[in-house]
Every structure is written in structure tokens, then in C-alpha cells.
Subunit: 240 residues, 2 copies
């Protein structure tokens, strides 16, 4: 997979003013005026599926606000295996946990077509130290991330829970808010999340499809999705 440089579409100020996410994002606490004052170099980026956003261990140079799509956060375990510890979605901030470290803790990789705003780390740190209420908001974001990760631990990952159940729970978590559509990430990625083999994931997903719990949408394009029978999946998810 070639490492493609993301396209820069437009710059800072103009789109922040019209951004529908502005109220729930980091920058909600930063007035438009401040953004201008700081000459903030906020870029609006597009990433295609499998494009890296940043790489674990490299120097921190920015944080990214996800505006659409999904980004996987990958860690490496003691034996060197990759493990996905969280999936960021609309409204999440990639790199926040590393914002005050020298190097990124995770690798971040787009798992679908992604739109994101890139905030240079120097600007970000300046915003934070000069805007008290922003700090509170970041604590909240950080707490949200913690809760999400803990819920993964509790729900998705447990050898004593059957693979069927766990995959169903994962699918429900990947549901696109308010719809019956589900982010369709790769089989390999699903395996790296619930901690089972890709083959088993494939078998379970195939089974769900044949039962009509899932329907594949959009072929294998970057915008592919599942359409899920939420009720049935929920039932499977609650199986002990």
C-alpha cells in the first residue's frame, strides 16, 4: 500500500466559521477571532482508506479532528502483534493523548474515506494553555476515550464470551449514529479488535449475512457499508 500524501483542500479560518461540528469540537472554546489572531494553520484534509494519519513513535506535530469517516488507533503488544484499541469517528480527536508527549503513542490509520482538520501541535498547545474552558473540554474528551476503551474491554474482549456475540457487539458499536448503517471495516481489522482470527470473523459475518442480519452495501469501494438488522444483532449481542 503506497503512502499517499493527503490533499489539502482549504485553509483555517474560512471553514471553521461554517463548520457544523464547531460547537462540539475542540475549537468550540476558541473564538473565531482567536483563531485568526493566532494565525492558526488549520488545514482541512482528506484521507483515503488505509492512508496513515500518523505513525506511532514519530514526533508529534499535530492533532486531528475527525469530521467524517473512521480512524483506527493501533498499538503494538509485547510480542509485536498489532492490536486496535479504539476506533475514532466524527467528533473525535486523533492524537489528543499524545498532545503533551514528544512522540505519538499510537499509529492512526483511516479505515474509510476520512475528512479531518489538522491542528499544528504548537497552535494546539497554545490554545490549551490560554483557554481555561478548553482544558475542561479536553478532560472530558479524554474521559470519553477512556470510557469507550473500557467498554471495549468489558464487552468485546473476553475469551469466555462466544465469538458470535462479540462480533455482534462490535458491529453495533460501529453503527453510524441514528441509522441502520454500519461502518464496514476490514475482516482483519475486526479480528484485531475482538482478539480472534480473521477466519472466525469471516465465518461469523457470513453467517450473519446469510441469516439476513447483515447486508453488504457499496461493493468494495471506500464508501462500502453494512446495513444491519439492529434488533437481531442486539439480540445476539446480549447472548451470554
Amino acid at each position: 500500500m503506497p503512502l499517499r500524501t493527503p490533499q489539502i483542500r482549504c485553509q483555517g479560518r474560512s471553514n471553521c466559521g461554517t463548520c457544523e461540528l464547531r460547537q462540539e469540537m475542540v475549537c468550540a472554546e476558541v473564538s473565531l477571532g482567536d483563531l485568526v489572531d493566532f494565525h492558526a494553520g488549520i488545514d482541512d484534509l482528506n484521507f483515503e482508506t488505509n492512508a496513515p494519519v500518523f505513525s506511532g513513535g514519530t514526533g508529534v506535530d499535530a492533532v486531528y479532528c475527525i469530521r467524517s469517516g473512521a480512524v483506527k488507533m493501533v498499538r503494538t503488544d509485547l510480542a509485536g502483534a498489532h492490536r486496535i484499541v479504539r476506533v475514532l469517528r466524527k467528533g473525535d480527536i486523533a492524537g489528543l493523548e499524545s498532545a503533551f508527549s514528544e512522540f505519538y503513542e499510537h499509529s492512526a490509520v483511516a479505515v474509510s474515506a476520512v475528512k479531518a482538520c489538522r491542528i499544528p501541535i504548537a497552535d494546539f498547545r497554545r490554545f490549551v494553555t490560554t483557554h481555561q474552558s478548553l482544558q475542561m473540554r479536553l478532560m472530558q474528551k479524554s474521559r470519553d476515550a477512556l470510557r469507550e476503551t473500557e467498554e471495549w474491554l468489558a464487552d468485546l474482549v473476553s475469551g469466555t464470551i462466544p465469538a458470535r456475540t462479540r462480533v455482534a457487539r462490535l458491529l453495533l458499536r460501529l453503527r453510524i449514529e441514528g441509522t441502520e448503517n454500519i461502518h464496514r471495516i476490514g475482516i482483519e481489522d475486526m479480528a484485531a479488535i475482538v482478539g480472534i482470527t480473521p477466519e472466525t470473523v469471516s465465518r461469523v459475518v457470513s453467517d450473519f449475512v446469510s441469516r439476513g442480519f447483515l447486508e453488504k452495501i457499496g461493493g468494495n469501494s471506500a464508501y462500502r457499508n453494512f446495513r444491519g438488522d439492529i434488533a437481531s444483532l442486539t439480540q445476539v449481542a446480549c447472548t451470554a
Copy 2:
């Protein structure tokens, strides 16, 4: 198991002044003078093994700074099973993630003899809003908690990694800093962390003991421990 009220040993001001942990705890950012000004009702508490610190879903009334011992943070999964998502140790803060919520997200239970400082939530919130540098410290604590939980996810919990390896990794994480002693939590608790059955944990631990990788110390008292052969355990922990 009877629910015993913890003993109150002494109050606020006096022990904060001499606390060896003061520099690394929350209150590092709060001057002794401020503590007095706020008439802070910080209590010094003891919990015995299996004593609840607080219970998930109940109203948040305090946060607790752990001064010694270990506390398990318990979540309930979709099917109602208990899952331990983190173990707090010396220097950690129990309830921090709920500090700005109405109800506790977890149940917190002592897994050994625990000494902790109780900070009433009203005082805590006042500290936070009036001390900027404290906010930064809390973000850091929150980030530490997130990292710890993610490392659990990556290292401890994966159906594709053999139970032996995972138990070895858990034991290394429960190591008491700088020593070859290891917090000896119950078999049941270890199972609830790595996501396997108590029987399997027991078999693995017994095996480690018979090989000399582990030695049981202190019988079954509240102060029991393992003494571990760190090198051998590390080797097992790195087995794919």
C-alpha cells in the same frame, strides 16, 4: 461479605503536610494554605480486602487517592457479567473519571489492605476550577489511565494469545514497583481481568509455582503476595 465502614484515622491538614506522596498526587498543585482555606474535609481511610470503596451507579460524593494497596475498578458488560477494567495502585485516583458526572461509572473494591485519602467531591471540584495547573495534572492522570487500559487491551486480552502468556503478563503488571513482589489478587479477579475462567487461571498459576516462577508469601492474609521470578515470567510473557 459484610459491608464494613472504613475507619477514619485522622483528618486533612495534618497528614497532607507530611505525606510522602504529596508531590505526585493531585494535591501537589494545591498549597497547604489553600487546603486550610477551603476547610477541606480530607479524610485518611483504611479499607480491608474486599471492602467496597464506592459502588457503580451511586451518586458521586468523593474521589480517593490511593496511598497503598490495590483497588479494582469493575464494569458490567452487556450481558451483566463483571469485568475488571483497571487496577489502581499507589498514586492513582479512584473516581476521577466520574468527578464531573452525577454517578460513579465503576464499582471500586479493595483487593488488598488499602490506605486512601478521601476528598469530598465539592472540595475537589472547587480545587479544580480554581487551580489551572491542577487541571493539567488531571489531564495527565486521565491520559495515564487511558494508556494503562489500552495496554491491558493490547497485552492481556486476546483470544489468540495463550492463557499462560496472558497470565504472565498480568502478573508482571501487578508487580510492586522496584521489587520482585507481586500483588496477589484472587484467582477469580485474575480471571475477570484476562477474560478466561478461574479454573484455567488456577492451572496456570499452579504450574508457575511448581516451576519456581512464583512463590506464595504471607499465607492467605490480607497482606499475602507472590514473590516472582521476574526474568522467567518475562520470558513467558513474550511468548507469542
